[in-house]
């Protein structure tokens, strides 16, 4: 017989699937802000925040929501070089594959974009944009100047990346949306909603408020860290449930297990 904790563990496998999207106060607000910005005549929108704050899932969410209404494209993985990026862009703009042994000319592509002005409005969601170099970012800016292509650039927030953002976009017409780590209340809602979505009501109920406080302290409200911690936590619970049931309290997740998971993930040390 499968342990009840196996399903709970799988709930917290980190993914950006649309099904895994949890509506929280903060995420609803960020979503609305992004949707509103996209509707504005902006050339570039910067979405930034620390890793694990939900940037990718937000881009994925907006892509899924708007793909049937708008011409929106999601570049989830950054192109390893210019050539590949231009190929991708060519495909989006022309809706055709690039013929074999053909190379995309940058200026021709910019001209093509300029010709599209007023005819089409293409939205390109660029995830992990910190992977693009400064030169590449400059070319992206030139594409956006055509006003036919609108870029939503998602960046990890670090000191260096802030610098890139400042250098390349400061003078442009753009908007910044910053995603932050979740508050304790938001994180509690996130965990509960995730479990309830899979009908794991008893398990959701076994994580008490003080456990949530501890989880928030360990993960600092970061969604990715939260997923990792909860996955490990339920993995340990699963082991005890199957091998040493006396060591687990089904009514309430023992604090010991949360600390063991935190030790395993290196949030705390001996």
């Amino acid at each position: 017989m499968k342990s009840r904790y196996e399903a709970a563990k799988n709930v917290f496998i980190d993914s950006i699937d649309n099904d895994d999207y949890i509506e929280l106060n903060s995420s609803i607000s960020a979503y609305k802000q992004l949707e509103h910005s996209i509707n504005k005549p902006l050339k570039m929108i910067l979405l930034f925040g620390k890793p694990g704050t939900g940037k990718s899932i937000l881009l994925n969410r907006i892509h899924n929501k708007l793909k049937h209404q708008r011409e929106i494209h999601y570049f989830d993985t950054p192109a390893i070089n210019e050539k590949e990026f231009f190929h991708k862009l060519f495909k989006v703009l022309t809706k055709k594959d690039l013929p074999n042994n053909t190379e995309v000319n940058f200026s021709a592509l910019v001209d093509f974009c300029k010709n599209l002005r007023g005819k089409r409005e293409i939205i390109i969601l660029l995830d992990e944009a910190q992977m693009y170099g400064p030169e590449m970012m400059e070319k992206i800016r030139l594409f956006s100047d055509s006003r036919a292509v609108k870029f939503v650039v998602s960046l990890h927030k670090t000191e260096n990346e802030d610098l890139i953002a400042k250098e390349h976009f400061q003078s442009r017409i753009w908007e910044v949306i910053e995603l932050k780590n979740a508050t304790k209340e938001d994180q509690t809602t996130y965990i509960h909603k995730k479990l309830l979505k899979k009908n794991l009501f008893e398990i959701a109920n076994s994580i008490k408020d003080k456990d949530m406080k501890l989880i928030h302290a360990f993960t600092k409200g970061n969604f990715r860290e939260c997923n990792k911690l909860l996955f490990t936590l339920f993995e340990i619970c699963e082991y005890y449930d199957e091998n040493e049931p006396s060591k687990i309290n089904y009514e309430q997740i023992p604090q010991r297990i949360i600390e063991m998971a935190a030790l395993k993930l290196g949030y705390i040390h001996v």
Partner: protein, 237 residues
Amino acid sequence: MYDIKPLEEEWKKYKKKKMRPWFVLLFSILLVLLVSLTFLNYKEIDFLNFNDKSKVEAVTKVPTALLIDKALTTLEIKKPEITEIKPVTVTSHENDSNEIVEDMPIEEEAAIINKPKIKEETAQKNRKKVHLNIIETTSASAYKDVAKRFHQSHDTDDSLFLAKVYYRKGNYKKAEYWALQTNKVNGNIEEGWLIFAKSKVKLGRKNEAIRILTTYIKKSNSGRAKSLLHKIKKGTL
């Protein structure tokens, strides 16, 4: 999950480490409390001894060689804030000996006056005028001063006084010492022998006490000594 055992061990270590500051804090609090209680307790004992009027009065009545019982009522007590200390002349009884030896703590209202320094100023016929510089002090330091003075003057009243006070306070070792000092200076003071024997009994050296008292009775044929010996033998001391 195959590494659960090492993880459990790691968690135990973590828990111990986490609890350590609390243990240290608890231990520190207990230590501070213990020290405070000991200190307060000490102060309280001292305070009680210090203020127990009946005890102090009893002490003042005990010495047979107290020669200044009348004069005490006329003593002027100098408060510490008064820099100029007026010497007070104390006149002893005419029919008593010329030795003025008493300098025990005297309590007057809240203030305890100790450590009078006696100076012989003028010798008159059967009469002695003594200047007493009386200053307030604690009983503990007064005892020290009396002891110090005994070492200089070898006055048996001082040593006998200390023997009695320490015996009453239950410090039998010191009582024994001061009784012995008294007996060394003057072997004919009965009180000295009695306190010496009683202190020995209290210190668990009953046989020694019996031997000493027997010897003293042979020499003095003292009724009090006989009565004490009887009590010691019966174990009713």
